[in-house]
């Protein structure tokens, strides 16, 4: 087994421990510190077999302060938001919500440049921020052009089937209150940026 050298962050850095940081950035009450490492989450996960570390293992690594390894993990990006882990967890840890937190931290700290998933999310919200509604055709084309041009053909036939049944549109719908929404989202992002600068973990 590979030797892991772990520094103990609470003596090295006076800042928040990684565990507390992750917990604070999760909406509601995460109960992360209550994990008893039983593996119910990893066992229940539909894509658990594909993850490099199961959620349980991630939580242990978070406790050990292994920031790099945690934020590099592919596990949050394999999360399909099925919430099995969350309802089955005997300690009521908000596993799924914690996965979202780890995604945000990984993106913010630049751990995800090679990943497709964050880009998908970015593309998705790009349309939302532009039109106020999602736009499936644009999303699929733009995302797949960037990531897997080879698969475009397959997706193409699928898109054709969808067009034939009037299930895809060529133009996105734009909401009327786009200006207001834009202002709201800009404000939210500004608050987030401030929090980043001032270390307001709870807002991130």
């Amino acid at each position: 087994m590979e030797e892991i050298t772990v520094s103990i962050p609470d003596t090295v850095k006076p800042k928040l421990r990684f565990l507390e940081e992750v917990s604070a950035a999760t909406p509601g009450v995460s109960r992360l510190e209550m994990c008893i490492q039983c593996g119910t989450c990893g066992g229940s996960c539909p894509s658990g077999a594909d993850m490099d570390h199961t959620p349980r293992a991630l939580f242990a690594m978070i406790r050990a302060g292994m920031r790099d390894d945690v934020l590099q993990s592919n596990a949050p990006w394999y999360c399909v938001s099925c919430y099995y882990c969350m309802v089955r967890c005997p300690q009521e840890v908000h596993v799924t919500d914690l996965m979202y937190t780890l995604k945000r931290m990984a993106i913010r700290e630049g751990y995800t440049d090679h990943e497709a998933a964050p880009d998908f999310s970015q593309t998705f919200i790009g349309y939302v921020e532009q039109y106020g509604r999602s736009f499936e055709l644009g999303l699929a084309t733009r995302f797949h052009l960037a990531h897997s041009p080879l698969r475009k053909v397959g997706i193409g036939t699928l898109a054709l089937d969808m067009f034939a049944r009037d299930r895809l549109s060529f133009v996105p719908t734009r909401i009327k209150g786009m200006d207001g929404l834009h202002a709201i989202l800009e404000k939210a992002k500004a608050i987030t940026r401030d929090a980043e600068l001032t270390g307001g973990t709870q807002l991130l």
């Binding site: 570390h53 089955r88 005997p90």
Partner: protein, 680 residues
């Protein structure tokens, strides 16, 4: 009484003692300042001396008080130290030794409620002063009291005929005292009678239990009342009157020889949900198992063809001694006892509540109790471990720990016995079928004599252990080799990988739960339940078989999950407590009781219905109510409710509490001393 009202002139001589408790108190509270303040400010309140001392509870500290009582003629004592729950008795006894009535001593807490919970020295010192002054005001209204004495009836009621109840009954009966042993089912024996082997010794459960059951059944001092339930409890410690409903057996026990012909001839087969855990059948007239004590069967009326349809009577026709009596009626029997021991046991967690484990949906998922019956030589399969089809021997068996335990969605606690029980199952499967066995666990808990050794043995036998809580059990095959199997999906947390393990049989080690009706039972006997509905001990560590209700004891699993050795120990411990009471012949009770001043009582009867212990009697002839001091537990609800102020409580009178409030408010927190000055 007039003395009580004329406080200002009363010549009380109060001694105040402030404990340092090493640095426990003195580290946060300025003890010297409190002493000086008490000396000066509380002089007008009757304080003649104040002292502080390193450890008041030490023998030297106690001697200091004793000396002052004799030399300085103290009439009241206030000790500011730790919680009264710790040392109230210590200081009362010290007063008593010096000839002062022990109830004229008041202990106020400046450790648990001041020095240990506050950090600001100034605020803590001020609060200590306030608390002390509250104690001084209160002690002025204390009255000399004598403890109550109550005689103890020498008979005992034991409720529940499992191993804990049997043990209790035998211990008391062997000591020559009468015991009424009441059991809801037709036979005593409890859950232990359902097991095949007991861990870690693998003794045959029946072999060690049956002799005890027989002794209990034949003991001249034990009155066995099976197929019976307690319906009413009157009275109080030493003098309970308990009403027991003896359900109609429809079998004349004086004629029945227990030959079993009626069971043989009865045409009605019923799934036995109790003794066979739903895995086997019994007849409508039955004894739950061959070694049942007593040996007499009962007729299960809701399932009996005669009772439901009016014809059949096969049992009656074939009974060689004419012992069947369809006309028997339920009987109410009242017994008088001095003490009661509850040993009502546990229910198994209902595994159907976790649908993703498949119990009830997937045929070859079994509960632990079902599995006990499968392995039992007297069980439905004669001890053959087979699948639900009744014939196929499993090749791979998965045993799931912590089903319904250690889970905030169900029961938060550890059920204590499941690890060992699962190890036992693993051993039995290996021994009898040679099958591959998996144990799925979160933590192995084998902390008792020879338990971990048993774990070692099962490891050595080749049982496979997977550290991970099972996520789900499914029959939806996904991979080759899974078809027709049950698949256990789990994260092997030590390997850090998700695994799918195909098995033929799944055994769910379901947790232990309080009896479904334990809350009603607790209410019936006047004791309390925890949030999980286990009965609450008087003290979880130091008094585990007593309850807050004098004369009612608890033993075995009704107080929480435990194994057989612990249940037996508790049964014996409860018996010892009961025998101590009986031997002493009487019991002394804290004189914290309510009493009614007849002159003031208007006879409105408001208090009558408030009392949960029925301690208040109404005398219709004189139109006044009266409190039975032995029944009264001293809660004081009636005192607070009496519109005429006719009820007063010793130890918690209106005067005592009102004065304490005044004392507590002597000092304000924000530095405003007007109040104190005005008072002084």
């Amino acid at each position: 009484m007039s003395d009580e009202l004329n406080l200002e002139n009363a010549e009380e001589r109060i001694g105040v003692y402030i404990c340092h408790c090493g640095t426990n108190i003195a580290g946060t509270v300025d003890v010297a300042e409190v002493r000086e303040w008490a000396e000066k400010r509380l002089k007008s309140r009757g304080v003649v001396l104040a002292r502080d001392y390193k450890f008041m509870c030490s023998s030297l500290g106690q001697e200091l008080i004793e000396k002052d009582i004799t030399e300085n003629r103290l009439t009241r004592v206030v000790v500011a130290a730790c919680s009264p729950h710790l040392h109230e008795n210590t200081f009362r006894t010290a007063c008593k030794r010096a000839g002062l009535n022990p109830y004229l001593c008041e202990l106020v807490s400046i450790r648990e409620q001041v020095s240990w919970v506050h950090t600001d020295k100034h605020a803590a010192t001020d609060k200590a002063k306030a608390v002390l002054s509250g104690g001084v005001e209160r002690v002025r209204h204390h009255q000399p009291l004598e403890p109550l004495r109550v005689p103890i009836h020498p008979a005992t009621l034991v409720v529940g005929g499992g191993i804990a109840g049997i043990q209790t009954a035998l211990e008391i009966a062997d000591a020559g005292r009468r015991v009424y042993l009441v059991e809801r089912e037709p036979s005593i024996g409890g859950h232990m009678s359902q097991f095949d082997k007991t861990f870690p010794t693998l003794d045959c459960s029946a072999c060690i239990l049956t002799p005890k059951m027989v002794s209990a059944g034949m003991h001249p001092n034990i009155t066995l009342m099976t197929w019976s339930e307690v319906t009413k409890v009157d009275g109080y410690v030493g003098n309970f009157a308990v009403t027991i409903k003896q359900k109609a057996r429809c079998v004349k026990t004086d004629l029945c020889t227990g030959c079993g012909i009626c069971q043989e001839k009865c045409p009605k087969k019923v799934i036995d949900e109790v003794y066979e855990a739903g895995l086997g059948y019994r007849k409508a007239v039955y004894t739950p198992f061959p070694q049942a004590v007593p040996k007499f069967p009962v007729i299960d009326k809701p399932n009996c063809t005669y009772f439901q349809k009016g014809t059949c009577k096969a049992c009656e026709k074939f009974c060689p001694t004419n012992a069947i009596d369809f006309n028997q009626q339920d009987e109410l029997i009242t017994v008088e006892v001095g003490n009661i021991v509850l040993a009502t046991g546990y229910d198994l967690f209902d595994a159907r509540r976790i649908p993703h484990y498949g119990y009830g949906r997937l045929a070859n998922v079994f509960t632990s109790l079902e599995f006990e019956r499968l392995t039992n030589a007297a069980g439905p399969t004669n001890g053959n471990i087979v699948l639900r089809d009744g014939k196929t021997t499993p090749k791979v068996v998965g045993i799931v720990h912590c089903v319904g335990s250690r889970d905030r969605n169900y029961n938060n606690y550890c059920s204590a016995i499941c690890c060992m029980q699962s190890l036992k199952f693993a051993h039995l499967v290996k021994e009898r079928t040679g099958a591959t066995v998996y144990n799925f666990y979160i933590d192995m808990r084998t902390a008792a004599k020879a338990y971990d050794e048993f774990y070692q043995r099962v490891l050595e036998e080749g049982t496979l252990f997977v550290r991970g809580r099972v996520a789900e059990v499914t029959d939806a095959a996904r991979l080759p080799g899974e078809e027709g199997k049950l698949i256990i999906q789990v994260e092997d947390t030590l390997a850090g990988k998700q695994r799918r393990i195909p098995v033929d049989m799944v055994v769910l080690s379901a947790g232990l739960q309080s009896r479904h009706d334990s809350k009603e039972v607790a209410k019936l006997f006047g004791i309390s339940c925890s949030a999980d509905a286990w009965f609450i001990e008087k003290h979880p560590k130091l008094d585990p078989v007593s309850t807050m209700t004098d004369g009612v004891f608890i033993a075995g699993c009704c107080t929480g999950p435990k194994d057989i050795p612990n249940s037996v120990s508790q049964g014996a411990a409860a018996a010892a407590r009961v025998l101590t009471y009986i031997d002493r012949g009487e019991i002394t009770l804290e004189p914290v009781r309510a009493s009614i001043n007849e002159m003031k009582c208007s006879g409105c009867r408001i208090c009558n219905n408030l009392c949960p212990f029925n301690a208040i009697l109404f005398h219709a002839d004189r139109m006044v109510s009266e409190v039975n001091a032995a029944l009264c537990q001293g809660c004081g609800t009636c005192v607070a409710a009496c519109p005429a102020g006719a009820i007063s409580g010793t130890g918690f009178s209106n005067e005592q509490i009102m004065s304490q409030i005044e004392g507590l408010l002597l000092l304000n927190l924000n530095g405003a001393r007007e109040k104190e000055l005005a008072y002084a």
